[in-house]
Amino acid sequence: MTGVALGLDASFDWILAFLMIATAWRALGARDGFQSVVLFITFGVMASIAWIRIGSPDLALAEAAIGTGVAGAIFVTSLAVLERSEQRDEERDAECEQGEGSDAGE
C-alpha cells in the first residue's frame, strides 16, 4: 500500500481513528448490553487493524485473539448468564408476591 498514494494511507488512518472513537463512544453509551458487547468486538477488530498500520503485527495478533476473540466470547456468555439470573430473580419475586397474596386471603 505504501508508495501508491500518500493521501490514501493518511485518509485511511484518519477514517480508522474517527471510527474507533465513534465506536468506543457508542459502545459506552449503548443502553442494551448486547449492543455494547458487539460494538466492543468491532472496536477490537479496528484496534487490531490500527496495530498493523503502526507496524506491530505481534500486538495486532494479540489484540485480535485476546481482546476481540476470547474477551468477546467471555462477554457474550457472561451477558447470557446475567440475563438468565435476572429472569430467575423476577420469577422468584413473582412467586413471593403470589405467596403473600394467598396468606392475606386466609
Binding site: P57, D58, L61, A65, I66, V70, R84
Partner: protein, 238 residues
C-alpha cells in the same frame, strides 16, 4: 446517581482523557521519539543474542523478568476468579444449588460439532506455527496460547464439561506449567553462575522455545477456564 450529579465527574474524566491523549500524541509525534536509535540497537542486540525477532528478544531476553511476572499475573487472575466465583464449593458439591447451571447451546443440527471438525486441525496447526514462528517472525507464546484457547472454548461449547473439571489436578498443573518452567529456567541460569534469567547465548533458542511452549499451554488453559467460569451461572448467589 441522578444525571445532574454525574456531570462534573464526566467533565473531569473527559478533561483527564483529553490531556492524556494530547500528551501521548505529542510524545509520539515529537522528534526525539522518531530520531531515537533504540529500534536499531535493539535489533542489533537481538541478532547478537541469536534471536531474529526483536519482540521476542525484548519479551523473553532483555525484559524476561517482566514476562515472568506477566505469567504470574495470569495465574493470580485465575485464582481470583476461582475465589470470587466459589468454584471450590461448587466442585465439592456441598450444596446442589452451589453447582449452578452451565450455559449450553442447543446444537441439534450439529453445527458447532461440524465446525469443530473443520477448525480443530487448522487451529492446532496455526497455534503451533505461531509459537514456533515467535523466534523469527511475529507470533509467540501469548498469541499461540490464545489460538489454542479458542480451540478449547469451541470444544467446551460442543461438549460441555463440568465446572469442577476446571479445578482438576491436570487443569491446575497445566495452568501453572508456564510459570514453573519459567522459574526453573530462571533459577537454572542462577545456579549456572549467571544472573537471574540471563540465558547463555548458545542455549538461547531451546530455552526460549521451552519457555514459550509452556507459557502458551498455560495461557490456553487459563483463558479456557475463564470462559468456562464465565458461562457458569453464580449458583448460590441467585
Amino acid at each position: 446517581m441522578p444525571e445532574s450529579r454525574r456531570r462534573p465527574a464526566r467533565a473531569l474524566s473527559a478533561i483527564g482523557c483529553a490531556t492524556l491523549g494530547a500528551s501521548l500524541g505529542w510524545m509520539a509525534l515529537s522528534r526525539s521519539a522518531r530520531e531515537s536509535d533504540l529500534a536499531r540497537s535493539v535489533s542489533e542486540a537481538s541478532t547478537a543474542r541469536g534471536l531474529e525477532h526483536e519482540v521476542t528478544a525484548v519479551l523473553l531476553d532483555f525484559r524476561g523478568y517482566d514476562t515472568l511476572l506477566e505469567t504470574a499475573v495470569l495465574l493470580a487472575a485465575l485464582t481470583g476468579v476461582w475465589a470470587v466465583h466459589g468454584t471450590l464449593e461448587a466442585s465439592r458439591g456441598e450444596s446442589p444449588r452451589a453447582r449452578g447451571t452451565r450455559e449450553t447451546i442447543d446444537d441439534p443440527s450439529g453445527l458447532v460439532d461440524g465446525l469443530l471438525r473443520v477448525l480443530a486441525p487448522i487451529l492446532l496447526v496455526a497455534s503451533a506455527y505461531l509459537g514456533w514462528a515467535g523466534s523469527h517472525a511475529p507470533g509467540g507464546a501469548f498469541q499461540a496460547g490464545t489460538v489454542l484457547a479458542s480451540l478449547l472454548i469451541l470444544l467446551t461449547l460442543a461438549h460441555p464439561i463440568d465446572p469442577g473439571a476446571a479445578l482438576s489436578r491436570g487443569a491446575r498443573a497445566l495452568s501453572s506449567a508456564g510459570l514453573w518452567v519459567f522459574i526453573s529456567v530462571a533459577l537454572g541460569t542462577g545456579l549456572g553462575g549467571r544472573a537471574f534469567l540471563d540465558y547463555p547465548t548458545a542455549w538461547m533458542k531451546p530455552l526460549v522455545w521451552l519457555i514459550e511452549s509452556a507459557v502458551a499451554i498455560s495461557v490456553a488453559t487459563i483463558l479456557a477456564i475463564f470462559f468456562v467460569e464465565a458461562s457458569r451461572s453464580g449458583g448460590e448467589r441467585s
